[in-house]
Amino acid sequence: MISRRRLLQTTAASAALWAARGLPARAANAPGVTDKEIKFGQTMPYSGPASSYGAIGKAELAYFKKINDEGGINGRMLNLLSLDDGYSPPKTVEQIRRLVEQDQVAFIFQSLGTPPNSAIQKYLNDRKVPHLFVATGATKWNDPKHFPWTIGWQPNYQTEGHIYAKYLLINKPDAKIGILYQNDDYGKDYVVGLKDGLGDKAKTMIVKEESYETSDPTIDSQIVSLQASGADTFLNATTPKFAAQAIRKAYDIGWKPLHFLNNVSISVSSVLTPAGLEKSVGVITADYRKDPTDPRWKDDPGYKQWLEFMKKYMPDADLGDNDYPYGMMVAMTMVQVLKQCGSDLSRENIMKEAANLHDLEMPMLLPGIKVNTGPDNFAPIKQMQLQRFNGKSWELFGDVIMG
């Protein structure tokens, strides 16, 4: 047993020690943090079925190199250990355990993919390791009550569904909506988001829901039955190949609904061109990023800032790839969090500051769209703006909408 006097003595002594060193009593810095370096980790699919997303990891490494060239953050260099998991959850678990237990990283940043992140979420939360800005559009990352150490970044599919619902409630409250969605969590998230956004009116406004499997050869019959249902508004929650088919089929059978195409399939070159540019006129979608191929941004200061970074740090990269602006902006968000942490780089404080971002603007976000987080808000980007296809490119219209 420790006697009361002994306890008091020890407490006094340690308090004196703190006072003597002039330091506030606070949690120790996270593992991986030294006076010279902040070490953190991620998994990326540099190989395997999703390897095209590896561009994101490369952009992030390049951006942190730029920060280091400029002197780091408070004199500390950023050292991102980016490991390949091949988009295979068991490999993700192995690599994340290596990062946390062997390499002793301070936190995990931007691991990519919904299944890989699902596999590590509980492990990281049990160990209280920040699991920051995961690179997936699923809605489940915004759950601070159950997973206070996991936070998302990009607008999730439900948010986008909310935005379409908001637009409809104001501009077309008597719409008869037909939905086509991919039958998995991604497609269902859109349906949930739309219904949630429509609220009580969802039951009357949605007249038909059709789904398809990725293994289906075409979705022609679904389009025909959506037209037959009398729908005058179409939510097209499909991946690129099916999105192109849907646009073309609707046009060919003379169905002319108000057509909402999900953000997943907004590529002009891989969706609208195969569907037929003239058949795609009038299609509406929502976005939060500046399209790097859109000539409208040629003289935009944000675009120029991005271009300058790319030319210096990724001179060989394809400038049309949307993943590079994405990677740079998530890396910028991370830098902001670490700057806000100041000298307290404990895991608690890193997580606290990740959930303490206010009106952060980014060079390649659409004007007016800002990054915001809070203790109850683990979905950093919730705003999007609608745009309509004019036969050549996307044309923004209306205000930025909060999902």
Binding site: M44, Y46, S47, G48, P49, S51, G54, G57, K58, L61, A62, K65, S82, L83, D84, G86, Y87, S88, P89, P90, K91, V93, E94, R97, R98, V100, E101, Q102, G113, T114, P115, P116, S118, A119, K122, Y123, N183, D184, D185, Y186, S211, E213, T214, S215, D316
Partner: protein, 354 residues
């Protein structure tokens, strides 16, 4: 006269040398086992987890080795049985509340049945055609797991999360150590059974079918049944491994069981050594560790080399096959044979000199 006496004495001496090889092998086995038992007490949790995966993959490779190494049938689809094993466990634990340990034999038996039934028609296909049929199985499995009508069972694309089990009976082990010993405790009897099986009559029938199917049939071996049964037993091993893999990782999803898994099983079996019991272990070490090294080596080439891990992996694989065309075990056998021969000549020359 001199020459004759030398050949007379050489035969018993070889016998002695061979005996000592098997003694050495036994000593080595004992040491390896002792090492396997103490390793988790000084290795970190992460390394213990990796070694658990090695054990799990070794069981799967043992299964594939029975089929490919001993019976000569190439399967590009064993990842499918691994997936079925993992999903049987996950669904039983998650939906039916069955304790995780009780699901392991169920997973094995389900795979035994599936493997046998798949084997019946598929094994009429020979060689490359069977490889293609099993390849289709591996391609189809992740899609079936995502299929909407099974979604309420399989969890669709999101998969199923499982809690990591703690050590029972108040054993002073953490969860990683417990899972390691659980997998080891299952791997050892499975390896022992495989060893006994290939040394038995059915094992000889398997090998006979591989080496000369017509001769085997004319000797009275029921080739169709033997092949189907081998396929079933092989799937049984892989299914048990899948079940353990699901428990160890704590998560199953269709993306965990891509075609790449099936291919790396085949790579593991060939690299470790076809038709050898210990080949499975070396193969498992290869498929767990070499991709990591490849990633690290490509990192050394700078940030822009991030696209290269598979190129490095390929080079390592070619190097392995060039240096040890019969696998790791083949190399070890060759080295052992050299040592025995060297010992033989050393001894006989010593004998002759005086």
């Amino acid at each position: 006269m001199g020459a004759l006496s030398e050949t007379e004495t050489a035969a018993p001496k070889r016998e002695v040398a061979r005996l000592s090889v098997s003694t050495w092998r036994r000593i080595g086995l004992g040491l390896a086992l002792a090492l396997a038992l103490v390793v988790p007490f000084w290795a970190s949790g992460y390394h213990t987890f990796q070694l658990t995966l090695v054990t799990v993959y070794a069981i799967a490779l043992m299964g594939l080795n029975l089929l490919t190494g001993y019976n000569g049938q190439i399967s590009l689809g064993h990842g499918a049985f691994y997936a079925i094993g993992a999903y049987v466990t996950a669904v039983l634990v998650h939906k039916a509340g069955v304790p995780y340990w009780a699901t392991v034999p169920v997973a094995g038996l389900v795979c035994l049945g599936t493997g046998f039934l798949f084997g019946l028609p598929a094994l009429r296909l020979e060689g490359l055609y069977l490889a293609l049929a099993t390849f289709a199985l591996a391609l189809v499995t992740p899609q079936i797991l995502k299929f909407k009508n099974f979604g309420s069972w399989t969890g669709g694309v999101q998969g199923i999360l499982m809690d990591k089990p703690d050590a029972p009976w108040g054993l002073p082990l953490d969860s990683d150590q417990w899972l390691y010993f659980l997998c080891l405790a299952l791997a050892l009897p499975l390896f022992w059974a495989a060893r006994n099986m290939v040394a038995s009559r059915s094992g000889r029938a398997m090998v006979a079918i591989r080496d000369h199917p017509i001769a085997a049939a004319s000797m009275g071996v029921n080739t169709a049944l033997t092949k189907s049964l081998t396929f079933g037993v092989s799937a049984f091993y892989t299914g048990i491994a899948g079940s353990l893999g699901g428990i160890v990782v704590g998560f199953v999803a269709p993306d965990s069981f891509s075609i790449l898994l099936s291919l790396s099983f085949l790579v593991g079996v060939v690299v470790g050594g076809l038709a050898s019991i210990w080949g499975a272990l070396f193969g498992a070490l290869f498929i767990v560790f070499v991709p990591n090294y490849a990633d690290q080596i490509s990192d050394l080439l700078g940030e822009r080399a991030k696209a290269l891990p598979w190129a490095i992996y390929g080079l390592l694989l070619i190097a392995f096959m060039y240096l040890m065309p019969t696998g790791v075990v083949g190399l070890l056998r060759a080295v052992a044979a050299r040592l025995v021969a060297a010992a033989d000549t050393a001894r006989s020359s010593r004998r002759v000199e005086p």
